[in-house]
Symmetry: C3
Subunit: 213 residues, 3 copies
Amino acid sequence: MFISTTFIEVITILGTAAFSASAVLAANDREIDLFSIIVLGIIAAVGGGTIRDCLLDTPVFWAEDMSYIYIASASAIVCFYTISFLKKKWISEIYLYIDAIAIAMFCIQGTEKAWALGFGLPVAPVILGTMTAVGGGIVRDIILQRPSLILSKELYAIPVCLGAIIHAVTLAYLPDYSEISALAAAFVIIYLRHLSIQKNLVVPNWALLNLKK
Amino acid sequence: MFISTTFIEVITILGTAAFSASAVLAANDREIDLFSIIVLGIIAAVGGGTIRDCLLDTPVFWAEDMSYIYIASASAIVCFYTISFLKKKWISEIYLYIDAIAIAMFCIQGTEKAWALGFGLPVAPVILGTMTAVGGGIVRDIILQRPSLILSKELYAIPVCLGAIIHAVTLAYLPDYSEISALAAAFVIIYLRHLSIQKNLVVPNWALLNLKK
Amino acid sequence: MFISTTFIEVITILGTAAFSASAVLAANDREIDLFSIIVLGIIAAVGGGTIRDCLLDTPVFWAEDMSYIYIASASAIVCFYTISFLKKKWISEIYLYIDAIAIAMFCIQGTEKAWALGFGLPVAPVILGTMTAVGGGIVRDIILQRPSLILSKELYAIPVCLGAIIHAVTLAYLPDYSEISALAAAFVIIYLRHLSIQKNLVVPNWALLNLKK
């Protein structure tokens, strides 16, 4: 037990808040009201896990613990009134790192939940882990009529999926090392996000096709 | 028992028809075929309750009683061939009031269904009540690639959410008065929709941020 | 037992591959990466059946048999690197016929699955059968921000729905003839798609309304 429960709780709170904040940032350049922002914030924060729980046919996680809804709502309200502050370079960078840690954790939690339920082993947990982390953002983008984050050249969903694969492979072949693999998967996700944020690393050319040609 | 079952049935039929009609009105200015309109009408009419039932993990309501599908289909067909009539000012005003009564009733029913199942009390029933009333419209807008009603300045989802909150608070603290609170919640929703329809009341400025700034 | 299990398996594999390929073709004219294409391919291939299984409250089909995910992924990868070949006229025609056979089969399977579970007989199986065949394409179009296939004048969802109706009517009144009706429904779907592909048959004018007028 390397990872303390308190640490996971802190990341869960910060991550839920960061996901909700992403809705305010994504709604940038629009005239939008506080209610819409709260709705979008909640969707961005819990959407991915909600789809996961529907597919797993388990009770929706936020109905069991409403604090996710409270945190997402509070974060959306705070961000709504501090948007100009949020747009400051150093703040938005902190935000990106909190988001990176959050997608890493939610991805691993989603992968583990699906694995524990024996859902379509060994590949489906990778899909559900990725969906837990990025599903809310996809629904947020659909409602905002923005280009989907899943289609972006930015390294966002790919690191998440890689992390889920690392963790699923370990759960399959070395289940005793699941905690080390969770840390390794988180490291890979956060490090790739770091390269994306700092070095503007994008999808390499061999994996990119301009379908116009 | 102030509210008769017959009255509720009449509202359910009129409300389902009005929700389905909203798809024809939303598809305005497009070349669209009858089949697409029926599909959109059914989605607008039963979409919100369907998402609610998936989250609640209860059988989908329209599979238990197919009359929702029949009414939505019939309404879509009739509206398709009478669209120029529907666009007349006095007709579209009647439509807006039927819709207002319908969102009030579906919101209260959704809140009560979630409450009765003990789903994430006390806040989740508010979310599901609101979703029951506006979820179908959101999916309709997504398929039609229109700006989502949830992002509109019009007072539509906000009155619904307010009504759900009123009803949920009463269910929590004064459960014996649930019928009075259902009427009060419906009154608030319909009255705010009335102000929106007649006086063009929109989201107040303090709750509205032009994120462009 | 006219239809051999092997035949059904071959169609399932070809059909899943064709659905996944549709994502590559739909992403035409965009800069898109391999990972996004795999995600879209999987969504297009299994999306419809996933929504069906959520509504039926049965385990998601691809979690029980991961080969759907493998086939969809492999097809997306192959199509990604052979897109210029896929666009050749004779290849894209073969693709359209494989797709036609696939929507016929998935529609019939979806109708039968809902019927066997007694889900909202007799109309809901028609809805779920249609959704199984076209639901994945609808979600694909939403994520790609393309006009929804359900709104297109092309005869695509309508033949599917017709086939589902034929099969549901037989299951209701002549259950002993379900295999003949499955063949008849498939024939109707494939023949109407053939007319659409070869003769450019579209929705007739009486069922088409230019709502601009």
